[in-house]
Symmetry: C2
Subunit: 405 residues, 2 copies
Amino acid sequence: MKKIAVFGSTGSIGTQTLEIVARHPDRLTAVLLTCRKSLEKLREQIRIFHPEAVAVESAADAASLAQEFPQLKVFSGNGAQIEAAKTIEYDVMLNALVGIAGLAPTMAAIETRTKKTKGDGSSGLMIALANKETLVAGGRLVTGAARRADVSIVPVDSEHSAIFQCLAGNERNDLSKIILTASGGPFREHTEEQMEKVTVKDALAHPNWDMGAKITIDSASMINKAFEIIEAKWLFGLTAQQIDVLVHPKSIVHSMVCFRDGAMLAQLGLPSMKVPISYALFYPERPTTGVGQADLASASPLEFYEPSGFAARSLNLAYRVLRESDEKGYDSPAIVLNGADEALTALFLEEKIAFTQIVSTLEKMLDAHEPRPITTLEEIFLIDAQARAEALRIATAPIAYHRDR
Amino acid sequence: MKKIAVFGSTGSIGTQTLEIVARHPDRLTAVLLTCRKSLEKLREQIRIFHPEAVAVESAADAASLAQEFPQLKVFSGNGAQIEAAKTIEYDVMLNALVGIAGLAPTMAAIETRTKKTKGDGSSGLMIALANKETLVAGGRLVTGAARRADVSIVPVDSEHSAIFQCLAGNERNDLSKIILTASGGPFREHTEEQMEKVTVKDALAHPNWDMGAKITIDSASMINKAFEIIEAKWLFGLTAQQIDVLVHPKSIVHSMVCFRDGAMLAQLGLPSMKVPISYALFYPERPTTGVGQADLASASPLEFYEPSGFAARSLNLAYRVLRESDEKGYDSPAIVLNGADEALTALFLEEKIAFTQIVSTLEKMLDAHEPRPITTLEEIFLIDAQARAEALRIATAPIAYHRDR
């Protein structure tokens, strides 16, 4: 029986993870659920899954839960997720937290295992990672700590899971490069002029995937794919030259691996997160998920394009970041990119900046940033906070705004 | 150092196999080469690869080789390939023989291993199979004998190798079905009327692959894909319901596996046989082959169609054969199909019958055939010989010919 801690249990990935847990009561049990504020949904999940503990943000919510569920251990406050990550025993951390908030709990989980090891010598911990920021901002620290503690990190997103699935049964040395596919978002065929006029409503309408607001905007701006490039570096130990992106509007091919013998493997399917979640939880097994099979004859033709225009401009942010990281070991630019993007996306959602200002501001910030190496979580949080403040300042300064138009 | 016996060393697959051997002199050595009559090419191969033995058809050729290469063991005559398969020691039999002639040497190789086993308990033999007829005509016998002797059979053709590559790292139980891709051949968009007028020259012009005459005609008639359906049954232990075919004119996706979790894996690449040959020889490693990477953006769009018309009619021959095999264990129809097709293809190449008569005659023969189980190689050869004679009789009888027009 695998004990699962679901960080971010009330979001889209968390909910689907619990549906998979419900499908396999003989093999999976949810021992810890965490969320920020969706108390009603959490209550419902507690009634169904009987976790040992939960973590919520506010003390009032915690008190209310403690009263209703006397057996339940309840963590609350700013450090609740980290505290829960350190205290509760689990075999799998499913990290579906949103934003940079996902980083510290992952690190806490890994650090508890540097001391404990299971009978077979392994740490007994697998991190099923749906939180991009953990690796985008903390890639070197997190993967280094995980390696030392023998903690495995398995991707839970459609593209990196596709790569992970294609690599199974192959030797890592034989990989020559990977190709991440990108739907190209709703603005794939927009002119520069049209891009200037994109509204929040336009940007929230993703053609293939139904996701949260932040990631949907990131998909529309292609910044999401830029983050996936950085994530892929850390998950699979790649350099910038080994990571290509192809625009594939139908999102049937979820990503591909090219091997040095000339063979390519691709993972395909309907756009459902249940497949990557289930694959991470049961790897290398593939029990049924209730997800149907893609019909290639109906989906035909499948198109692939080199990224160009706006898409290429967004992806270039990632390649700039990776070059510093690959060549000099300087990881601060990724933290700037990530923190600034969170701030800029929020500003766009509040209709305070234009859509194109997200990318143009990120470019300006990378231009101005002095790359440096990162050795502690504290440095990450400091650079992150500075980047948010700086993004706000640049993007909302009247003169900068006019220059962008 | 792996000892390779190359059966059919002077053909297209044999030649490419030896190119791979030449690329890895530290890991592979060719100990046995066989061919029918291409004596000049064989001589050249002997000079380069210094095999321990060769097998040829005629006694005169054998005598000439024995004189030129005094150290060389030379087998000749009708039973030369079988004798060589039994006598020489090798780790891999690369079987690239053409037609039903490939069956008996495979069986001979397996049978020698029922007695010998290596230190680790395995038979120490792998059969890299490029000869379709071994499994089409002898599937149950060959796979049964191989299982008992712990001999592994690994496919060396583009489609089945693709399936094999997609299955690596996955559990066999999780497979739900496979999808073999088919280029659809040069007549994919022909009307019935156009099909009647197909010439030998038309049929020999395959759009994507450069292969021998028999397999090129089989590709044009889609009978090759029918055989691949039957082969897939035996290689991967599938039923007719688990084997689909999609027409994919560009032959970039070589085949696919659908798993029960909803995921699909596909293997893609340029049309080169070196990838499947190398994968079979080095599995699960993938050393460089000199084959470049497919460029999906240039190849885009990739199209997939359900087989229809003439293609569906040819494939239906395989499904008819498999139903008897799956449901009753009767394997004789596959032998009829295979033997008759060899005879009919030869007749078509001699311009004695029309192209459409290949499939129409095969249909008539399956209609008239009484399916039965097969327990010995001798039965296979008898049914094969009868099917050839019967195909000749039906196809060249004036009245049958006129009925087909």
